[in-house]
């Protein structure tokens, strides 16, 4: 209360009161991802503070820069089980980058300065500050409450070093000998803002790029080298490229189990090599054995790569790209686009693939897409064309249902000029739907697309595939087959308009109506209840084992068969690249700047 009172009439601080603290935390995360700045969230003590635990954990897993602070009972009452007291230092320890209990008002300035520094530097993450009420009310006796210098002896994040230069040199030697190199771009590329550097690197060496869920958008999906999402629900062509790779260059990714599939069959185990660039040394070698570690900020490492490549080209007048592999990948990409599914499902409802196709038609490059968690997220990650960094927001490591809606609010606040689309499932949307009131109160426009399959779809899919269709606890229908809530009526209840559609032919029109609406708009799309997010890897399966639809089965095996493996097959695939062509790509940046 004292803190809120202080910012009541502050012209510089815009405070948006959310309906639930968890949502406030996620909104701050959405703001941070969309803007590339620090997200800030404030709550009251006790239950208010425990409610942001999920958001802190989510930000911790996704390395989102977040500053969270909460009220606390007066210092004298701490430890007495006072009203609305909770041990937040203990509770947030394992899910924050750092936390503080401010016991003296003279420390508050220093703590905030340090907290912001810690949250935004190195590998970013959430920092939590506990502010007892008496400390909030006390008068600071220091002349300059905020120290000019930060003195944290135990915190010196390494972003670059001379060792990086040496490692990059070795890495380039490994890459130059590779036949089937692949780049895995992770969320670290986004956090480092290394988009230009990555593009230059890829354009020069023409190595195919796959991305993790958090790395979507760091390079446009339209880019000719980008094969798409990898992992459990990845694009087949992307998983194919990684499983066949002889050198994997991983940039800012942590090889989570959802990405690697069966570790024994993941590259790096036998004849292939892994080069791992990450700012956090603890991530290197944690899940997969790494042949060449590069502990560095992704942007600085890629700059060094580009510098050394440029030097080499100037010296040798040779262009270091693997032309046949590039040609192969280009053909692979061109042959595996997203078809327009015009048919409806078994029960006559819309297939999610149709919605993704139509969304791709209507999305502008600056539009921001936020997904919830579950099948909707995998459809988006798999199919959507995201063309700019920071226009794709999702909950990665923690997989927090209910993240998307509040995060979309934060994104819209960060980028009011962009259209923000929320793609949600009926299950996850209900987890934080109270924030519809926040939208109305603050006149924030979100295009809300609810894919309603009347199930907790992803778990249902697992039950269908692995538990003989025993849909325990996943059906959201009443016993008589009715489904509540009525999302259109819900929109009306909060003062918005809504629309429900049942047919594939209505999807395009509904999306256009949603976009052209002045206010937030809910489109409830009734999708095939038992539609599955396919292809998927069976749990524990290798990257090249898929569960997929019959009609899709054949395609990828063709590519396995066609992949040149012997020297002569590779020679047949080689293409001549003229020097002018090659150099123009490489020196594009130098010429324009």
């Amino acid at each position: 209360m004292p803190f809120y009172d202080e910012i009541y009439e502050d012209p510089d601080i815009r405070s948006i009161l959310m309906r639930h603290e968890q949502a406030a935390g996620h909104a701050a995360e959405g703001f941070a991802v969309a803007s590339g700045k620090l997200g800030v969230v404030m709550t009251t003590s006790g239950p208010g503070a425990t409610n942001i635990i999920t958001a802190l954990a989510n930000a911790f897993y996704d390395s989102t820069p977040l500053l969270a602070f909460s009220g606390q009972v007066p210092t004298k009452l701490i430890g007495n089980d006072a009203f609305q007291e909770a041990d937040l230092i203990g509770s947030t320890m394992a899910i924050t980058k750092h936390n503080y209990l401010a016991k003296n008002v003279n420390d508050v300035g220093r703590i905030f300065k340090e907290a912001i520094h810690i949250a935004t530097t190195g590998r970013p993450g959430p920092v939590f500050i506990d502010l007892p009420k008496d400390v909030q009310l006390a008068e600071c006796s220091l002349k300059s409450p905020i120290p000019s210098k930060i003195n944290l002896v135990g915190y010196n994040p390494v972003s670059f070093s001379n060792a990086v230069k040496r490692q990059v040199k070795i890495a380039l030697n490994i890459i130059s000998e590779a036949q089937y190199p692949v780049i895995i771009a992770g969320g670290g590329v986004l956090l480092a803002n290394a988009f230009q550097e990555l593009k230059q690197f890829v354009d020069t060496l023409r190595i195919p790029v796959v991305y993790t869920l958090k790395g979507k958008g760091v390079l446009s999906d339209d880019h000719q080298n980008v094969l798409g999402l990898i992992g459990m629900h990845g694009r087949k062509r992307a998983n194919f490229a990684v499983s066949e790779a002889d050198v994997v260059i991983a940039i800012g990714c942590r090889f989570s189990d959802r990405i690697t599939g069966d570790l024994q069959k993941f590259p790096g185990q036998q004849n292939s090599k892994i080069i791992h660039i990450d700012i956090d040394a603890a991530e290197i070698g944690k899940n997969v054995p790494v042949d060449l570690p590069i502990v560095s900020d992704a942007k600085l490492a890629l700059e060094e790569f580009n510098r050394q490549i440029q030097k080499k080209i100037k010296e040798t007048q040779e262009f270091p790209m693997n032309s046949w592999w590039y040609k192969f990948i280009k053909e692979l990409k061109e042959s595996s686009g997203i078809p327009n599914v015009t048919t409806s499902g078994k029960t006559g409802k819309i297939l999610p693939e149709k919605i993704m196709y139509e969304l791709n038609e209507i999305l502008e490059p600056d539009d921001i897409v936020v997904s919830e968690v579950g099948q909707n997220q995998m459809y988006c990650g798999h199919y959507l064309n995201i063309r700019k960094p920071r226009t794709w927001i999702t909950s990665g490591g923690l997989g927090t249902m209910g993240f998307g809606f509040p995060a979309s609010i934060g994104a819209k606040v960060a980028k009011p000029e962009s259209e923000v689309w929320l793609v949600a499932g009926d299950g996850s949307f209900q987890m934080n739907l109270a924030e519809l009131a926040t939208l109305k109160q603050h006149n924030i426009k979100i295009n809300i697309i609810i894919l309603n399959n009347q199930y907790l779809g992803m778990v249902r899919q697992w039950q269908e595939l692995f538990n003989e269709k025993r849909y325990a606890g996943t059906c959201l229908q009443c016993k008589n087959g009715e489904y509540w809530p009525d999302f259109v009526k819900l929109a009306t209840a909060y003062g918005f308009k809504g629309l429900r559609i049942n047919k594939p032919s209505e999807v395009s029109m509904a999306l256009k109506t949603c976009r052209s609406s002045k206010e937030s708009f809910i489109v409830e799309m009734m999708i095939e209840p038992e539609s599955n997010a396919l292809p998927m890897l069976p749990p524990g399966g290798a990257l090249n084992t898929f569960i997929s639809r019959k009609r899709e089965k054949k395609s990828i095996y063709d590519w396995y068969r066609r992949l040149p493996r012997s020297e002569s097959e590779i020679a047949d695939y080689k293409v001549e690249i003229s020097k002018e062509d090659a150099f123009s790509v490489y020196f594009e940046k130098e010429v324009t700047t």
């Binding site: 750092h98 040394a281 603890a282 070698g285």
Partner: protein
């Protein structure tokens, strides 16, 4: 897969002297499923910094991972992994033994002498002594006392350690 060899390591941490630091370190061990065989902490030679010594067991990769995770804690200033061949590692034990009869009394006293123990408190019913050495030496002494059925209570300090030679683990 080749079974990787598990051995003992001593991890020495220089940490900022703040409340809750030990909780963060212990929490990190528990959360990531690492084994903590002993834990000692006290002020270091530098003002405002404490030294924590943890004995752990694991493969080389596991210990490397612990080291990296410890380094990430903001209040941890330095981390060093020591092994017996490059360092001095010691432990102190306080031991209370019960005297049953003259014969055991004689045996106890001669054992204390062999193990270079020092009697701190004694009367006709009990002997309280200290033994300093590596953990194996203390274990061996306690085994003997257990077999003689005279061991009443023990309080061990956990390991403390320093690098051998003029090299030092920390700041300068």
């Amino acid at each position: 897969m080749v079974m990787e060899s598990v051995s003992e390591y001593v991890i020495v941490l220089l940490v900022e002297d703040h409340p809750g630091v030990t909780m963060k370190i212990a929490g990190m061990f528990a959360r990531r499923g690492h084994n903590m065989k002993s834990f000692t902490g006290a002020q270091s030679e530098q003002k405002g910094l404490s030294k924590i010594v943890i004995k752990t067991e694991g493969t080389k990769e596991q210990v490397e991972q612990i080291q990296k995770q410890m380094n990430k804690l903001i209040e941890v200033v330095k981390v060093q992994v020591l092994q017996p061949d490059n360092s001095v590692i010691r432990e102190l034990a306080l031991i209370k033994l019960l005297i049953k009869d003259d014969l055991t009394h004689q045996k106890i006293l001669s054992m204390i002498e062999i193990y270079h123990g020092k009697v701190l408190d004694a009367n006709l019913k009990q002997v309280t002594l200290e033994i300093v050495g590596n953990s194996e030496k203390i274990d061996a002494f306690l085994d003997i006392m257990r077999n003689m059925n005279v061991l009443r209570e023990v309080s061990r300090s956990g390991n403390v350690a320093l690098l051998r030679g003029t090299e030092s683990v920390f700041l300068h």
